[in-house]
């Protein structure tokens, strides 16, 4: 299954159903991915945006969790293969989630930094802070500038949030740590292959986002496609070469590699095409939800975001109960609740309920929405305290370079 937004919601929604729910995940925690970029920029600690699955679903009698890695699915025998032996099922809800999509750019996959789970985020944090430490030891000015050039690839919400947060980490916090640092040596570039940021947003908000990034000294480059990266120099398709020790890849997601091994037809981004009821064709007992599932609305593929996974989970839970009761199944219909992206202090863009907000009101809305959605009162409290502290004192608590 998977303990992401989708898998967790299915398990919860089936709490009163006459079924035994077994949730599988290779990690023992649920991760609140929308705030992962704040772990990468030292604003939050990993423990504050993750919660052990067992403690989330502690009270649920028909629930069991197993920390295993699913290696294959035997659709005929109705059996999952895992690293701890096989598990039989009557219904199967696949919610394995997504991973970073490097679009076959092997050198970028090797030297670039993705942002999909906690180790990714901690790796970015360690890398960025190490670049500053190494820049302080570097005598050659060109080498030093290369270590202080940070490239974020992808102008979607993740890329925009990452670039904004990185700029604030450096310009509001790290400048105080490195009094000998010449801030003009620091560059943050946001590379976008098309001609617009936040493509899903209306034009007014796209422009607001661009302006805010500009005010934060983030250089936005449109029509910039990455061709190659060796860890020290990035080469664009135009032939331009930029020396940079850091490339953060936020340019794409795809379904996890598990999808490719299932023997089911995959559509774009490695996602499995599902029926309107979210069942797999020919296997009515198997559902796919979240990033791993492929559905379109009005000819456009559904985005790989938490609200889609959550709404799909609710449909699937209902359909499983309806199957048990012999009732006809419901079709999935996505209700778009809007998009939010934050760019930094007092700055965000929001397109929700037909409203277009930017600046401080959008930022407050972003804040409230994310605090509400965080699972567990303790996480809410600690994240809020962290944010308040950072807001008033221009600080970041988690500036540790941790090693293995």
């Amino acid at each position: 299954m998977g303990a992401g937004f989708g898998g967790l919601r299915v398990a919860r929604a089936l709490r009163r159903a006459p079924v035994q729910v077994i949730l599988l995940d290779r990690n023992n925690y649920h991760l609140f991915q929308p705030l992962l970029y704040q772990v990468a920029t030292a604003g939050l600690e990993p423990e504050q945006i993750a919660k052990p699955v067992r403690s989330i679903l502690r009270g649920q009698k028909n629930f069991d969790f197993r920390m295993v890695e699913v290696t294959a699915v035997d659709l005929v025998q109705r059996r999952l293969e895992t690293n701890a032996g096989p598990i039989a099922y009557d219904f199967l809800v696949l919610a394995p989630g997504g991973e970073t999509n490097f679009f076959g750019l092997e050198t970028v996959a090797k030297h670039g930094l993705g942002l999909k789970d906690i180790p990714d985020a901690v790796a970015i944090r360690n890398h960025v802070l190490t670049c500053f430490e190494q820049a302080m030891l570097e005598a050659d000015p060109e080498q030093r500038r290369a270590r202080l050039t940070f490239i974020v690839v992808g102008g979607g919400p993740t890329g925009v949030e990452m670039a904004g947060a990185l700029s604030e980490l450096i310009r509001l916090v790290l400048v105080k740590d490195y009094p000998r640092l010449n801030i003009k040596d620091v560059r943050i570039l946001l590379l976008e292959a098309t001609d617009r940021l936040l493509a899903a947003m209306p034009e007014r908000l796209r422009e607001a986002a661009g302006k805010t990034l500009w005010r934060k000294y983030v250089e936005v480059r449109f029509g910039a496609t990455v061709a190659d990266y060796d860890g020290i120099r990035i080469r664009l398709k135009s032939g331009e070469i930029i020396p940079a020790h850091t490339v953060i890849w936020a340019a794409g997601a795809r379904a996890t590699g598990l999808n490719d091994r299932l023997g089911l037809a995959t559509a774009r981004q490695g996602r499995i095409a599902v029926e309107p009821t979210l069942q797999v064709a020919g296997h009515p007992e198997v559902y796919v939800i979240g990033d791993a599932a492929y559905r379109e609305t009005n000819g456009v593929p559904l985005p790989m975001v938490a609200p889609v996974a959550i709404q799909m989970a609710e449909t699937v839970a209902r359909n499983i109960v309806r199957t048990l009761r012999g009732r006809p199944l419901r079709e999935f219909r996505y209700r778009d609740q809007g998009t939010l992206a934050t760019i930094g202090r007092n700055a965000a863009v929001a397109h929700v309920f037909g409203l277009q907000l930017s600046g401080f009101p959008a930022w407050v809305m972003w804040l409230v929405v994310h605090i509400i959605q965080l699972i567990g009162f303790r996480n809410k409290l600690f994240v809020l305290l962290n944010w308040a502290w950072d807001y008033f004192f221009y600080e970041r608590a988690a500036r540790l370079i941790t090693r293995d």
Copy 2:
């Protein structure tokens, strides 16, 4: 130098001296080691007991930090060799700290878990929680019990605190996460080679500690010396074999390996014997402090604890200033402020200012002392909040199994 208790205190104490202070450490943070066992038992997050060196000493004008690893010291040329090139010095204060001492037991060093820095503590947390997840998947009862047998070696303060905290993590928190767990399958053993726990404490307190551990279902074994460990079975010198997937080694510390490479005479535990002024014989410009330095009081070696390092640091800072002013140097004299060890909720033993406290009063004193000593108001606040939450709700926030 080193950014532990000693190195940091020297740097701070020299803030008004006519010198340029350069602090070197391979990590960018100062770690509050006395609370490390709470990270290992999921009570605190690593970020809460560590603070970046640069932010601690931010205001100090004559201070510079370099994140480098010292590889050798050239005492004749007065130069440090590091992984980022050589650094010349006029005065050198060596405060490289200690590491786990496995006393040459190679199999234990390989399969056992030490507790000296953040990666160690996170490794213990991950390992203990993984043992529970694996035990849930284990059909064979003997195998399951082996996965749920936790052995702590060493009856000093670290071992006692670790065993107590581990017992509370399991019996107060994890039992709620694993409703199918039979608590009788869980064993915690504390192995001590001599016939007493907390040897430095008076008898009354030693007995109180033993009783408290007994009430927490920790089996204390005296006269138990470890001979061999293969990751699954531990063998004692008596020939007894105990199946256990977890061995936490808190039985000894020694100075870091750097000491052996300096070409200076080392005394017990790899520590460098220093003059009463803490100088190295024949090199009056070189001082050694903390775990790396060897001094005796009344024929007993000074313990490898924070108060010794801090007091030594103050003596050294004063002696450096006196040297610059041409005044005679002061000799180091250790003022023992007492010992504190906590065993769990409302339970601790304290021997301070000639007072012998145990139970709740000792526990409150332990709490106050540790909160006061934590560096930074933010760390104090978050640790206190965490403790309060865990105290009232019988919880542990950081129950994540993180992977690389």
